[in-house]
Amino acid sequence: MSGPVSEPTRAEVCVVACAEAWRGDGAILASPMGLIPALGARLARLTFAPDLLLTDGEAYLVDEDGRVEGWLPYAKVFTMLAAGRRHVMMGAAQIDRSGNQNISAIGDWRRPKAQLLGVRGAPGNTVNHPVSYWVPRHSPRVFTPGVDMVCGVGYDRGAYELRVVVTNLAVLDFGTPERVMRLRSVHPGVEVADVLAATGFPLAVPDQVPVTRAPTAAELDLIRTRLDPEGARDRELT
């Protein structure tokens, strides 16, 4: 690219924040759900986490150029999952302060107001291997005092490891003695008060809240020219 590099967008900050979730994971299966987590996983693989395994969304493991390097049909995904050699970043229609997550249904489970995805693999994921979450619209409707159906289990129900929750506003984690949700960093331009107002339960807030790290010039170039040249990432936040 020629000319000055423009400022990173919020979506680009989120891609990098998602990528950071997989830092240090080594040769495990990264399973991102959603576009920005997928861009994050691929960015991590291209930069600081080259050992990550990625799939094509069907049954193949592919390298950073989409070339097949392995075969992973669903039965083998389940085995990798149970072996603990996986780190998934899932979505959440609801999530509470202990990290209990709901993607199944809103309202009374017996006759829901809104039937959503179903529990999918969330119960098994959360008791077997590290799990992170991606919430493109941080709001009190998502960050709720309790969830209508516990799909992914929280720390109070035996979660294996909940790494981070990345949202359009902030990065959260469970780095408190009681393992409840804590504000780890706010994205550039976001105030701590914005995050508190968008969270439907009391959030642990350290005295000093850092700002989420900005993408490096090299990361921005990869995102803009190689991973998502069409700019689809912005649409996931609107």
């Binding site: 669903y74 389940f78 529990v119 119960p123 959360t126 077997n128 516990v150």
Partner: protein, 295 residues
């Protein structure tokens, strides 16, 4: 319900024990061997390699009160919309490129379908237990989750070894019948998939008292890598050739998902009047009529 009898001997079913095994059948002949109240497993995954011609044959039959075990896609959607499924056993119902199965969603919100909601891995384990004729298999998935609350019949078990770990005792998901779709099969009941993923079709067949295979093409002799020969004839009760029989789900490499038709299905399912029209145009007909209508 029929008693569980090892092997092929199915008593009390017209065309069952009397019929020589391995005979190639029509979809309607296969469905004539099913009964009200049966638990039927359907292979494939979401909107991928579903035995849709057999599902359409069920839609034409007077079957009712079915329990459907499936990694659910439009197979479940259609059987829910027709009112023939009373209960669904699954971890999701999705069209893949359209995240939510519209007919399933509508029925859940209307309270007209019963659901046994399981983690995807629990469903796998239940089929594996049934295939191995075990009462249950231990698994971590489900512990601490709402799955144990909405399915109060589920139990946990403690490891008898030094770890003494508590695990979910996933009960066997025994099936009265299984329906799967293969790319190729022979008249004896050997089945071959040529796409990227076998899904759990072999387990569905082994978990079932009798399994039926539809295929894109019946061939005298199966060719290709040995790993693609997923089903053997000991697992299969009947075979039928249904070209384009997985439509509108994917059946690669023979064909991909018909995304345009799937969108049409989903749009129709969102509106009762539209659904009536869709039904008249595509489903109030036999398989040949369906295939002509979707060309």
């Amino acid at each position: 319900m029929t008693r569980r009898v090892p092997g092929h001997g199915v008593r009390g079913v017209p065309g069952g024990a009397e019929r020589p095994p391995g005979l190639a059948l029509t979809p309607d002949e296969i469905v004539a061997e099913l009964r009200d109240g049966m638990t039927i497993g359907i292979g494939g995954w979401g909107s991928r390699r579903k035995p849709m011609a057999l599902v359409r044959a069920i839609l034409r039959a007077p079957l009712k009160d079915l329990t459907i075990v499936s990694y659910a896609g439009p197979d479940v959607g259609l059987l829910v919309a027709s009112g023939q499924a009373r209960r669904v056993v699954t971890g999701f119902a999705s069209l893949d490129s359209i995240p939510l199965e519209p007919n399933f969603r509508r029925a859940r919100q209307a309270g007209t379908i019963e659901l046994t909601e399981l983690d995807e891995g629990m469903l796998h384990w239940g089929l594996l237990a049934a295939a191995h004729r075990l009462p249950f298999l231990p698994i971590r998935a489900g512990l601490g989750s709402g799955v144990l609350e909405v399915n109060p019949e589920l139990r946990t078990v403690r490891s008898p070894y030094r770890d003494a770990e508590e695990l979910v005792a996933m009960p066997a998901l025994r099936l009265d019948a299984a329906l799967v779709h293969m790319n190729r099969a022979d008249a004896g009941g050997n089945g071959q998939y040529l796409g990227p993923d076998p899904y759990f079709d072999d387990l569905f067949c082994l978990a079932a008292e009798r399994a039926y295979v539809s295929c894109e093409r019946l061939v005298p002799r199966l060719e290709g890598p040995p790993q693609t020969l997923l089903l053997n004839r000991a697992m299969v009760r009947g075979v039928t050739q249904t070209p384009n029989g997985a439509h509108f789900t994917s059946c690669v490499p023979d064909y991909g998902r018909d995304e345009a038709f799937q969108r049409r299905y989903a749009q129709a399912a969102a509106d009762p009047a539209e659904w009536k029209k869709f039904h008249a145009e595509f489903l109030d007909t036999d398989e040949a009529g369906y295939q002509r209508a979707v060309q």
